[in-house]
């Protein structure tokens, strides 16, 4: 722990000094490319040991605040085509009846109806999308994340038909034309493949929280290991009444909501 922090510090300062000097002398351009970062996983991970999950406290979600989605889409170079047909989204806000269409819809309090509810990939424990995929381009990772291998996707869109949550988007055209503020720390996708939320596996590997969790000013999002009874998320699940989306389908989502 100590060692890692020290190393991180030394690396950052060294890099900072170097870049500073370089930039000052005009030799090195100001450089934000993802340098080799210490991955958290050293050895081969044990399948099923961890199950990442997220708890969304919708009571804290403030109207008009889009910071989580903006952070997510920015961090992952999610394109914005500004039309609904080609739309690509990983994390977005919806009204109650769209996110929980099978929950009780009668006499729902105005306060609950007025709130917005985040939708994202549920990283289901029993994921229909990975079952439908003919190439295992989308697959269940060792840590419960439903991952995408964009190198393998054939673009048949079976996963989109199989997903009961509408969490998947297809690159109907070249996404690079619609990334308005690209980051260099994460790749883009290409025309003809399906994409979706990756639970920030790119950040987890560096020991960071997901971008949305970090960006939320109200700390409405809690991310953690559902298999660890002592994790924050499990303690919150223990202490609150929570909901999953369409639980009757047996997909066992890893995203929970406090209403």
């Amino acid at each position: 722990m100590m060692n890692e922090q020290r190393r991180e510090f030394i690396k950052k300062t060294a890099l900072g000094v170097l870049v500073g000097l370089g930039a000052a002398s005009g030799l090195v351009p100001a450089f934000s490319l993802e340098k080799t970062v210490l991955p958290v996983w050293d050895e081969k991970p044990v399948p099923g040991k961890i199950r990442w999950g997220m708890l969304i406290d919708t009571r804290k979600c403030k109207e008009g605040c889009q910071q989580c989605a903006a952070a997510c889409h920015h961090a992952h170079n999610v394109p914005d085509f500004r039309n609904k047909k080609d739309e690509i989204k990983w994390l977005w806000q919806n009204p109650y009846q769209k996110v929980f269409p099978t929950a009780s819809q009668q006499f729902v309090s105005k306060e609950i109806q007025d709130r917005s509810y985040l939708a994202l990939c549920n990283h289901c424990a029993e994921s229909p999308c990975t079952k439908a995929c003919p190439t295992e381009a989308t697959f269940k990772r060792w840590d419960g994340i439903v991952a995408m291998d964009y190198h393998r996707c054939i673009g048949c869109r079976f996963c989109m038909a199989a997903c009961p949550y509408g969490s998947r988007s297809f690159n109907w055209q070249d996404p690079r034309t619609a990334i308005h503020d690209p980051v260099t720390t994460y790749p883009t996708r290409e025309q003809g493949v399906v994409e979706k939320c990756n639970f920030c596996s790119d950040r987890l590997v560096k020991g960071q929280q997901p971008a949305c969790t970090e960006a939320c000013p109200e700390q409405a999002l809690t991310f953690g290991d559902l298999n660890d009874p002592r994790s924050d998320i499990r303690l919150l699940l223990e202490a609150n009444e929570t909901m999953q989306r369409k639980p009757e389908l047996g997909t066992k989502p890893s995203v929970f909501y406090i209403i």
Partner: protein, 128 residues
């Protein structure tokens, strides 16, 4: 008789140790713990993972293996033949090779090989 006593002492010590450790654990939990699950390793990208002649002939196999094992099995650390460790990432390569903007392209255009890496990943030409 004696051994039974020893066993008791051992058991009690173990329980105490466990309790003490648990207290520490709780203490730690108050400060938000990082999401690390395994110990991390020192990683180097100041020099190439293999001699240039080897890389010239085999970089595609290396990258293919890196891509599969890092994306699919989550094994992101590459251990070179001399024991040094690298992160399996195209950015590890760019750590040095972004100094030459034409690094990938010169040879590939000469050999008329068109890999699709740069449809998604940064190429030396795009590094900031």
């Amino acid at each position: 008789m004696m051994s039974k006593k020893l066993l008791w002492i051992f058991a009690v010590t173990a329980m105490m140790l466990f309790a003490v450790l648990n207290v520490f654990r709780k203490g730690e939990a108050e400060t938000p713990p990082p999401l690390s699950v395994h110990k991390s390793v020192a990683i180097d990208s100041s020099k190439c993972i293999a001699p240039a002649s080897f890389m010239r002939a085999n970089h595609m196999q290396v990258l293919y293996e890196w891509r599969n094992s890092s994306v699919r099995t989550g094994n992101r650390v590459y251990i070179a033949s001399n024991g040094s460790k690298y992160e399996k990432s195209l950015n590890t390569c760019l750590g040095c090779h972004s100094n030459n903007r034409l690094f990938c392209f010169n040879c590939h255009s000469y050999a008329n090989v068109k890999p699709k890496c740069w449809n998604c990943h940064l190429s030396p030409m795009e590094t900031p």
